[in-house]
């Protein structure tokens, strides 16, 4: 999730109300249970909600090939900000909404990054 988050680790304030009420929007940084391992929690950015058409670069290290997909009902598309080194929906597919656990709103540590996590507006 570079450059939004650090390599050495961040402490984030996460709120769980938006996930329960369903008020998440593309551009939010969310934490979710990994579909590959339910005990692992990962932090990614929400790119597309159900019904959205998402265009993504399949393998940015090796080629520029893009693919477009429509996010199925009840699912969301998440991607890391640093797509060169991120395992996200491009690898494990669209994620069911029920796996989303919270929205990261504020960076607490390190002190120099203290502040709100900006929502990147998505086109």
């Amino acid at each position: 999730m570079l450059p939004t988050l650090n390599v050495t680790g961040n402490l984030l304030l996460v709120e769980r109300i938006s996930t329960t009420t369903g008020k998440l929007k593309p551009g939010d940084v969310v934490i979710l249970q990994s579909p590959e391992s339910p005990r692992k929690i990962v932090c990614k950015r929400l790119i597309g909600m159900e019904g959205d058409e998402v265009t993504y670069v399949v393998d940015p290290k090796n080629s520029d090939r893009c693919e477009t997909i429509v996010v199925p009902k009840g699912h969301v598309w998440v991607e890391g900000d640093h797509i060169y080194a991120s395992k996200d929906s491009r690898n494990f597919g669209a994620v069911p909404y029920g796996l989303l656990k919270g929205r990261a709103v504020w960076t607490l540590l390190p002190r120099k990054d203290f502040g709100s996590l900006a929502r990147k507006p998505m086109q």
């Binding site: 249970q33 990994s34 590959e36 339910p38 005990r39 199925p72 009902k73 994620v95 069911p96 029920g98």
Partner: protein, 181 residues
């Protein structure tokens, strides 16, 4: 003095009881009502009669969510992959690495997912329609039926015998090694 303070103390007590019930049912175990005939005869065996269509209530435990270790035959409550507000109750028929046979082909269950089916195959929307379910969507494991009284008892771990295509990767490797030895 008088009604307002009585009402206030009743309200405080209700609030306390409410919070404790919510915490216990969220973290330890709760009672859930089961609707529909997809798990007949395990739950709601007589839903075709108009009289006897009261729902079953089952005890759902949440300790299984600490390690996410499930076994074949466990009955679990999970959120639907297509609508996170709906919860379903089905039986786990396949775990990660298993191959499950459907009518058309064999599906290999990916890591972190499971294959669920209702006991009443003819009227059950389950993994045969929506594919393997991520284990993270599971909310708890149903262990006992607590209502109606004549069917109180624990829920067995039977899996139907006709799930013929269930070869887990572990067994496959072991057979190969035996042949080498």
């Amino acid at each position: 003095m008088g009604t307002p303070s009585v009402l206030w103390s009743i309200a405080k007590r209700c609030f306390t009881v409410g919070i404790i019930t919510l915490t216990v049912s969220d973290r330890f175990a709760g009672i859930v009502s089961v609707r529909g005939a997809s798990m007949s005869p395990t739950f709601n065996p007589k839903t075709d009669t108009l009289l006897g269509s009261l729902n079953d209530y089952v005890l759902v435990e949440k300790f299984c969510l600490l390690k996410y270790k499930f076994s074949h035959g466990d009955v679990v409550v999970f959120r639907s992959p297509f609508n996170h507000k709906e919860k379903h109750v089905k039986r786990i028929v396949g775990l990660p690495g298993d191959r499950v046979g459907t009518h058309y082909d064999m599906v290999k269950i990916p890591d972190g997912h499971c294959w669920v089916e209702g006991d009443n195959s003819s009227s059950s929307v389950d993994s045969r329609s929506f594919g393997p379910v991520p284990l993270g969507l599971i909310n708890g494991r149903a262990t006992h039926v607590v209502w109606p009284p004549h069917r109180i008892g624990s829920i067995g771990r039977k899996v139907a015998e006709n799930r013929a295509g269930q070869i887990s990767n572990k067994d496959h490797t072991q057979n190969f090694d035996d042949r080498l030895a």
